[in-house]
Symmetry: C2
Subunit: 132 residues, 2 copies
DNA sequence: ACTTTAAATGAGAATAAATGTCGTTGAGGA
DNA sequence: TCCTCAACGACATTTATTCTCATTTAAAGT
């Protein structure tokens, strides 16, 4: 029941928002660009503007429903926030995105920030890999 | 003697290239955007087009003279390649960029890629921090 | 030093991603 | 069901970057 999720997040349950949330949930790809979402909407025969897709994804990000990533592709990709923190590995041959977790790296990052007198707020770690 | 460095890198020693390399060497900021470099050129009274700045920076990157980074700012920044690998910490309050090295994290990254059957080609680690 | 020639440049048009504007529409409380 | 304001669609605009093409220039050959 998506409409409830939206209201819980403080967002009016409009049709575009419901559809976009469904697409993010149902899509094969966990990581989609705004264009990807837009094209999927068109394929489904929905009449939603591209500007709305951008607006909605940004709102979802603010509401904590999705996370935005800037891989080295020149545009943002979005994924549903699973609540479980993880980083990403991008295959340079296939474009496939793999998620991973590593508690040790997390600790080291925090320690490094503190060594320099800072508090770690956020971080971005992406491994670019190729099949062996 | 910059002209020699350029020739060693397989690039013709043209005036725009020499000037841009000098700016990257002399600038207070180690990390500059294409616009930053362009503005500095204008301040110096040089007649170099913005397109040339972009072209040259991209060539420098290919030649291994500079490294390009995509922090979460919507545009690329460039720094002279010191040859010494390091990652970056960006202060969210001041925009200051701090470089750091951590051998342990490097090892863990390599291990993670290999656990998944991949070879680590490249990686991007940025810590977003605030003063304590 | 002078000519030649392919590579590099400058100016401005073009593109891609994303955001802003504004008149219209629709969700949801009265 | 009606009313109101938030949300929307269409399209203009902005920002970062790349492309096009006529002109210039570095540097190899004479």
């Amino acid at each position: 029941m998506e409409a409830q999720d939206l209201k819980k997040a403080g967002l009016k349950a409009t049709l575009p928002r419901i559809r976009i949330l469904q697409i993010l949930e149902d899509s094969k790809e966990r990581h989609m660009s705004a264009e990807d979402v837009y094209k999927t909407l068109l394929d489904l025969g929905e009449e939603v503007g591209l500007a709305t897709v951008y607006r909605v994804l940004t709102q979802f990000e603010s509401a904590g429903l999705v996370m935005r990533h800037n891989f080295d592709s020149g545009h943002s990709v979005f994924e549903l926030d699973s609540g479980i923190h993880h980083d990403h590995m991008v295959c340079l041959s296939t474009g496939k995105v793999i998620e991973f977790q590593n508690e040790e790296i997390e600790k080291l990052q925090k320690a490094i920030a503190e060594e320099h007198g800072y508090e770690l707020i956020e971080h971005s770690l992406v491994l670019y890999v190729k099949p062996k």
